[in-house]
């Protein structure tokens, strides 16, 4: 072999044996096939839906989420334009006046986020099918409990989706193309079946499973499902609702820090220590110091300088405020008015130094006023375009503690709490009773209401069978659960959502009771059809 031939063949062989391996090299992500191999990995996967639900469906971190759709379209809260701020393409104005269209990101994103929650659940359930519990040091019961927990979470996401959008696809697997929407009654039946099957395998709530879906959370889901069943399916389920509530009220579901019960004050269940509050039935757990994650209510709900009220270190965007007449729904002696909302001059934490404004009241003391109008320009018109920096009462339900506190901003996000069960049961009783109160219903509501008044005021503030009308029940429910993401659902159930007037909002069409299917989904899935009226 001469040199030429040698070199030629060397070159050719270089080409032939040359690397053609094009497999991806992964360094910073976990590839699915290598996961679910230990108890720790299975747990890490099973917990994923919780952080998603916490971070993007209810946490008010500036996300267009379920919470925004269920509150900013209703009668208590609004996100008005404040001068040059917060026009945002008219998004919040349209939510308030119910003039939304299927193109809105404010509608598309909650759909996407809730179904992403469903997707995470389906992913866990599908991956766990292949896991042999013995091989990873788990018992079959432990693994079944995880599956049960994830199924209830999936049902919960479907419940919220069905509430918003009406007929929706039921998704139990990943990657099945173009599934059509199921009628609402089928979705309700699916949720009921899933929760009822799973609830028996779930543990009771105790201090070892805080933040997890347990019997307490599952029965709360059922209570909500049955309470709204008439709205969603046309079929009344009052007795089922009462039965689900009784499971919780009778102490059969456990509780945080003992057996679940009402707090006797208005702050413990929302505080940085609310993981010890027996009122909480289902929450998303947070610990800012340990995880650097927190329940972000500041973005949407805080004034720019609101952190100074608490000696906190997170900024707000001066977004959501309380509508003037919703604020007036609270009597002045109602402690919930002064505890859960802020009005008037504001001071830096622990001082009498006024917090100053940054926009219309730049350099001047910040004084929140009830009205939504341009006082700085001497105007008296009050509507969604006329807000300014200090308009409307503000959020104070969750309070983060001081920056220097050890449990600073470790408040858990409460999704279901005991008070709601009292309200659900009372409402079911009243509806069953021809929309009339009964002593039992009055007793239930008064139990939750009593802590909102000083003892000396209570005698005049307690409800009686005569005073607890359905309208009053809705109003009281609003006062108790203001800011908690439940208002639109309640208004729809009381036929006040499309039919009602509040502040500058006029009645709209009954088709507005459900949102349109997002335009992106109508385009992507040929088997989805737009809701009536859109």
């Amino acid at each position: 072999m001469n040199t030429k031939t040698f070199l030629l063949s060397a070159l050719l062989s270089t080409s032939l044996v040359a690397c053609t391996n094009l497999d991806e090299e992964v360094f910073s992500n976990i590839v699915a096939g290598n996961f679910y191999k230990s108890k720790q990995e299975v747990t890490a996967a099973a917990l994923r839906p919780y952080t998603h639900i916490g971070a993007s469906m209810f946490s008010w971190g500036g996300q267009r989420n379920f919470w925004r759709l269920n509150e900013l379209t209703a009668d208590q809260l609004a996100l008005p334009q404040k001068g040059t701020n917060w026009y945002n393409g008219g998004e919040f104005i349209r939510l308030h006046y119910h003039t939304w269209t299927p193109d809105e990101l404010s509608i598309q994103n909650p759909w996407d986020l809730l179904y992403r929650g469903v997707g995470f659940c389906n992913n866990v359930l599908s991956e766990l099918k292949g896991v042999n519990p013995q091989k990873i040091g788990m018992t079959t019961a432990e693994l079944d409990a995880i599956k049960a927990e994830v199924r209830v979470l999936r049902a919960f996401c479907h419940l919220k989706l069905m509430d918003l959008f009406g007929n929706i696809p039921i998704a139990t697997e990943i990657g099945v193309p173009s599934i059509p929407a199921s009628p609402r009654k089928d979705v309700v039946a699916f949720i009921e079946k899933e929760v009822k099957e799973a609830v028996e395998q779930l543990p009771v709530l105790n201090d070892g499973n805080i933040g997890r879906m347990t019997k307490a959370g599952a029965y709360a889901v059922l209570a909500e499902l049955y309470l709204n069943a008439e709205t969603w399916t046309g079929t009344q389920r009052w007795d089922d609702c009462i039965a689900a509530c009784n499971k919780i009220l009778n102490g059969e579901v456990g509780g945080q820090n003992g057996v679940a019960k009402l707090e006797n004050n208005l702050t413990s269940m929302f505080s940085t220590k609310n993981d010890k509050s027996p009122e909480v039935l289902f929450s998303i757990a947070y610990n800012f110091a340990v995880t650097n994650y927190r329940f972000q209510w500041n973005n949407d709900l805080w004034h720019y300088n609101q952190k100074d009220f608490y000696n906190a270190n997170q900024s707000g965007n001066n977004g959501v405020v309380v509508a003037p007449d919703a604020y007036d729904q609270f009597k002045d002696n109602d402690l919930r008015k002064s505890t859960w909302m802020l009005i008037g001059p504001q001071y830096k934490f622990g001082t009498t130094t006024p917090v100053v404004g940054t926009q219309e009241y730049k350099g001047k003391p910040l004084v929140f006023v009830k009205e939504i109008r341009r006082n700085s320009e001497g105007k008296t018109v009050s509507d969604m375009t006329q807000g300014e920096e200090n308009s409307g009462a503000r959020f104070n339900k969750y309070v983060p503690g001081q920056y220097t506190d050890g449990d600073y901003w470790s408040n858990d996000l409460v999704i279901y709490r005991m008070a709601e069960i009292y309200f659900d049961k009372a409402e079911a009783i009243m509806r069953k009773n021809g929309n009339q109160a009964t002593p039992e219903a009055v007793e239930l509501i008064n139990t939750t209401r009593k802590r909102a008044f000083k003892p000396e005021d209570w005698a005049t503030e307690a409800y009686t069978v005569g005073t607890l009308t359905m309208d009053e029940l809705l109003a009281e429910r609003g006062r108790e659960f203001i800011f908690e993401g439940k208002r639109r659902t309640d208004l729809v159930r009381f036929n006040k959502f499309a039919e009602g007037s509040w502040w500058d909002h006029k009645p709209t069409a009954t088709t507005k009771k459900v949102f349109p299917i997002p335009a992106t989904q109508i385009a992507a899935n040929p088997n989805l059809h737009q809701n009536e009226g859109y």
Partner: protein
């Protein structure tokens, strides 16, 4: 493309040549080198065969006379003269005094894995040689050819000359929806190494740019070739020519225009105006400040020094260069210093069969990123002019604004700097296997390490707002590495009337990117800079920040090309590249990129000879498919990402879940392009030019599309859907208006027209609605300005239509049904297409005069038929923004408006402009000095004047990519650059 030798400097200069009995060609040429600025490049062995020296004696004649008499023709490349044996060989004994016609020479085009002479080219390629380069201060070497290649857009947004910002580059319009990794920017190839960094190249390193424009030309680089390919050839050493060169310039930027805001006096007067509804919230702090001017560094100075040594023999050639460049922008704390070098060696063995080429390049760039940011200039515009920069105690003055801060304080209380170290090397070995067959193997490495350090001092507003006054320090690093291996076999045969060149090869490239960052706050110490990240307390409190990430991708290709020419008339080229990318789905990793092109050199046909005014006439047709893989890694894999920690029985677990929808069918985006071309040279080289017409369709557009949720997990998926069509015409003309011994005048015209349309955005599986770009920020968050939808042109503005003002100055817009309504009454159905921000026409005109030793150049550039969204006026020429400062236009042009900012066609303005881009004047000193061979001095001014009806600072908005035509709210100050430079050779 210039097929002919142009009339060059010193053409008429009388040279004194003395020929002795034993003189060699080299002796003669050295005499010319000493008397002119020319440097000769030739292969002595080749020339010896043809060259006859004159008989001994002393002569006086011009360069062209000498070379004609020697039987040589020449091609001028800057001051470098490439000598070739001419067809005609004169009798060496007779010296003619008449100016002989210059010989036609063919330029050599670089086409990827080889070269080809220009008359054999059958696709659309533009070559720009160093003598055509823009002279003066450039930030990126590509700016030297701005406006000189038809269809190539090189844009500095707003006419900025920010030394830390690179130009955006795009060829023949936007062809993809993917904006990942600058996927609209052409592939850069330096000396044959694809994917190279422009950081490694200085303006004096470059000998030429070859731009592969159409699909047929670019397909040899299959994968990343859809946006076009720019091949950069560096200068090399020349045999028998030992050369030392030094080039240097100093330049300074002058403020050309600034935003007109209310002065402190105006502001106070407005406070007294009873009709001003905002007067109640305006505050007079008592000072008189001009914040904008305090951000400007009027004394900015840039200087550049480049030293090179080159030379060698027939067997080995070298060129080594070192440089230092310090750049300062018009903004304070805004500049960089860079130094580095480039070394090129070429060596052949005894029998010239084995060759080795080695290139090494290094660059160290220290960047001050603190100043020059757009946010500071936007703040300067908004600062209350009565508010002092510092209070009476000498502390920076802060007010309680949201989205409002004292930019002078920020500039002085924060630090942001980066160092980029780039190192690259390549080695190419060649072996002549057979007389016509050469094998080559190239190996190359590239490493770029960018480290950044940021510090916010304790008393800065940012620190007080976000870190409880504890300061904040951040360190980060990003390392990019590339390894390349290529092997080729090249067969070349010229026989009778036939020319054949076949090449086949293999290419492998692996890119690895590693990033790391840490951040901490809660410091006791303070200082500028503070570098002691561990001393902060917040990391321990869970408030610090730590990240690292690593990704890798691979490309593997097999390719081949065949060029065939018959009788200098019929030309054909066929290319095929099969390429695989690790980024795609298992069954779709490989793509096939074929191309073919044909040309007919009509001027070489006998029937054309009677048309004596035609020198060259060639028609071309080419078709080629190229690819795009510009998407993130791992999109076809099911990967799990972190989801935040969650509680499990008292312990916080990091959670994991799928972080995207995998797409196992992810495949190449492909662009199919048909190109028709015409090359011509007429009237004895008086007029030459090219015309190209193209039609390109990109299919299987890669993008992150909305998809079905349920049952997929995330609402988007990277997939291939839809198509974009681009059509265009490009014309290049070169006119030798005057060509006399001591005076010449050349005119260059470049023009292009371009249209695009997003023709499809759906397929059987996916139906996308639309994409939105250009989010209009707070205050107000007015939504997206641009929408891309099936059937519409890309770059289209989408929004409300202005219908007038109410009597009290409130906005009225048209609703879809034609009625009018207020902003609050507008729904998404009332929005429509209202304009387009991509220029339809790009034109440039260069004119060059040479008189004796003088050179004078003018260069005009123009972009036509597009709209600009005047964002500064939309937000800040509005009385409702008072409290903060506003643009004076609020009280002139926008006097009737009395409402909060709204986005509509009201703020769309015609963008058309004509810029006098550059004026250069140069003088070539005649030197008889033995030491110095040539001296050239020049003065150059950039961005001299702009003719436009646009009311903003500069009409040159972004015109590449998908977010186009939106003026920046806080633009970098537009400047004029004045440069004085010198080139010396020894």
């Amino acid at each position: 493309m210039h097929l002919f030798v142009s009339a060059q400097e010193n053409n008429a200069l009388k040279l004194k040549i003395s020929v002795k009995e034993n003189s060699s060609l080299t002796d003669l040429l050295q005499q010319v080198e000493h008397q002119t600025s020319y440097r000769f490049l030739y292969d002595p062995s080749e020339l010896k065969k043809n060259c006859k020296l004159p008989i001994a004696g002393s002569y006086t004649f011009t360069l062209s006379q000498l070379l004609s008499n020697l039987g040589l023709s020449y091609l001028v490349d800057g001051v470098q003269v490439i000598l070739k044996p001419a067809v005609v060989n004169k009798d060496p004994g007779v010296l003619s005094d008449t100016l002989l016609p210059l010989q036609l020479l063919n330029e050599v085009f670089v086409i990827g894995y080889g070269t080809i002479q220009s008359n054999y080219v059958s696709s659309s390629i533009s070559k720009i040689n160093s003598q055509q380069f823009h002279k003066g201060s450039v930030i990126s070497p590509l700016e030297m050819i701005r406006g000189k290649v038809a269809g190539l857009s090189i844009t500095r947004v707003g006419g900025n000359n920010n030394p830390n910002q690179v130009s955006t580059v795009q060829l023949r319009g936007v062809t993809t929806l993917s904006s990942y990794d600058a996927s609209n920017q052409p592939l850069i190839v330096i000396d044959g190494v694809p994917g190279a960094s422009l950081d490694l190249i200085q303006q004096d390193d470059i000998s030429s740019f070859d731009v592969l424009k159409d699909g047929a030309a670019a397909a040899i680089y299959g994968t990343r070739a859809s946006p076009g390919v720019i091949l950069i050839t560096t200068k090399k050493g020349r045999p028998d020519s030992t050369l030392l060169e030094y080039s240097s310039y100093i330049s300074t930027d002058q403020l050309r225009k600034r935003p007109e805001v209310l002065s402190a006096e105006d502001y106070r007067r407005r406070m007294l105006d009873p009709h001003n509804s905002r007067r109640g919230i305006m505050i007079d702090y008592g000072a008189t400040e001009d914040y904008y001017s305090q951000l400007v560094n009027k004394q900015n100075l840039t200087h550049y020094h480049y030293l090179s040594a080159s030379g060698g023999t027939e067997k080995n050639l070298y060129r080594a260069a070192l440089y230092y460049n310090s750049r300062q922008g018009i903004a304070k704390e805004n500049g960089n210093n860079q130094y580095g070098g480039r070394l090129g060696l070429q060596q052949k063995n005894k029998d010239n069969k084995i060759g080795l080429q080695i290139n090494l390049a290094a660059n160290i760039k220290e960047i001050n990123l603190n100043g020059g940011n757009l946010e500071d200039f936007e703040q300067a515009l908004q600062q209350n002019p009565t508010q002092p920069v510092k209070d009476a105690d000498g502390e920076y003055f802060y007010t309680s604004g949201t989205g409002y801060y004292n930019p002078i304080a920020r500039l002085n209380q924060e630090q942001r700097s980066a160092t980029i170290q780039t190192l690259a090397g390549d080695v190419k070995g060649t072996y002549q296997l057979l007389p016509h067959l050469e094998a080559a193997v190239t190996g190359a490495f590239f490493k770029r390490n960018r480290t950044e350090h940021n510090y916010i001092s304790k008393n800065a507003k940012n620190s007080i707002d976000n870190y409880k006054g504890g300061g904040f320090e951040e360190q980060s690093s990003l390392i990019d590495q590339t390894q390349t291996l290529e092997a080729t076999l090249n067969y070349k045969l010229e026989k009778d009337k036939q020319y054949l060149n076949a090449i086949t090869g293999y290419a492998y490239q692996r890119n690895v990117s590693t990033s790391f960052s840490i951040g901490n706050s809660g410091f006791m110490g303070d200082g500028l800079p503070w570098i002691n990240i561990g001393s902060g307390t917040d990391l321990a409190l869970g408030k610090g920040d730590m990240k690292s990430n690593k990704t890798a991708n691979k490309l593997v290709a097999f390719f081949g090309r065949l060029n065939y020419v018959y009788a200098d008339k019929y030309i054909a080229a066929v290319t095929l590249r099969k390429e695989g990318s690790s980024r795609f789905g298992t069954n779709h990793k490989w793509g096939m990129f074929p191309a073919f092109s044909f040309a007919w050199n009509i001027s070489n046909e006998s029937f054309i000879q009677e048309f004596s005014f035609i020198d060259v006439l060639k028609i071309r047709a080419g078709y080629g498919i190229t690819g795009n893989q510009a998407i993130p890694e791992y999109q076809s894999l099911i990967t799990l990402g972190t989801g935040g920690a969650y509680l499990n029985n008292g312990i916080w677990f990091q959670t994991y879940g799928p972080n995207k929808n995998p797409n196992v069918d992810l495949r190449w985006e492909k662009k199919k392009e048909l190109n028709w071309g015409l090359d011509f040279v007429l009237f004895s080289n008086k007029l030459s030019g090219n015309l190209d017409i193209y039609n390109r369709t990109t299919i299987d557009l890669l993008a992150n599309y909305s998809t079905q949720v349920p049952t997929l997990i995330t609402p988007t998926i990277y997939t291939n859907v839809g198509s974009i069509k681009n059509k265009g015409v490009e014309l290049t003309l070169h006119f030798n208006a005057v060509r006399k011994p001591d005076f010449s005048w050349n005119i260059d015209f470049i023009g292009s027209a371009q249209r695009n349309k997003l023709t499809k955005l759906s397929d059987d599986l996916f139906k996308a609605t639309y994409f939105q770009y250009g989010s209009l920020p707070a205050p107000g968050s007015l939504g997206y300005a641009i929408r891309a939808e099936e059937g519409e042109a890309l770059g289209s503005f989408y929004g409300k239509r202005f219908a007038g003002f109410t009597n009290d100055g409130k906005w009225l817009f048209y609703k879809a049904d034609g009625s009018k309504g207020t902003a609050a009454e507008m729904s998404t159905n009332d929005l429509t297409y209202i304009g387009n921000g991509i220029p339809k026409y790009m034109l440039s005109l260069g004119s060059e005069w040479k008189y004796k030793q003088w050179e004078f150049r003018l260069f005009f550039r123009s972009k036509l038929k597009y709209q600009i969204l005047n964002l500064p006026n939309l937000y800040y020429a509005n009385k409702k923004m008072l409290g903060n400062n506003i643009l004076s236009a609020a009280y002139s042009k926008y006097q009737s408006l009395n409402d909060d900012p709204q986005y509509s066609d009201y703020y769309l303005e015609k963008g058309d402009f004509l810029k006098l881009d550059n004026v250069t004047c140069a003088y070539n000193f005649r030197t008889r000095n033995k030491l110095i061979r040539a001296v050239k001095c020049y003065c150059s001014i950039d961005n001299i004047a702009t003719l436009t009806s646009y009311s903003g600072l500069d009409p040159e908005t972004e015109d590449t990519g998908l977010t186009t035509g939106i003026d920046t709210r806080g633009g970098y100050p537009p400047t004029r650059t004045i440069t004085i430079g010198v080139n010396l050779s020894f």
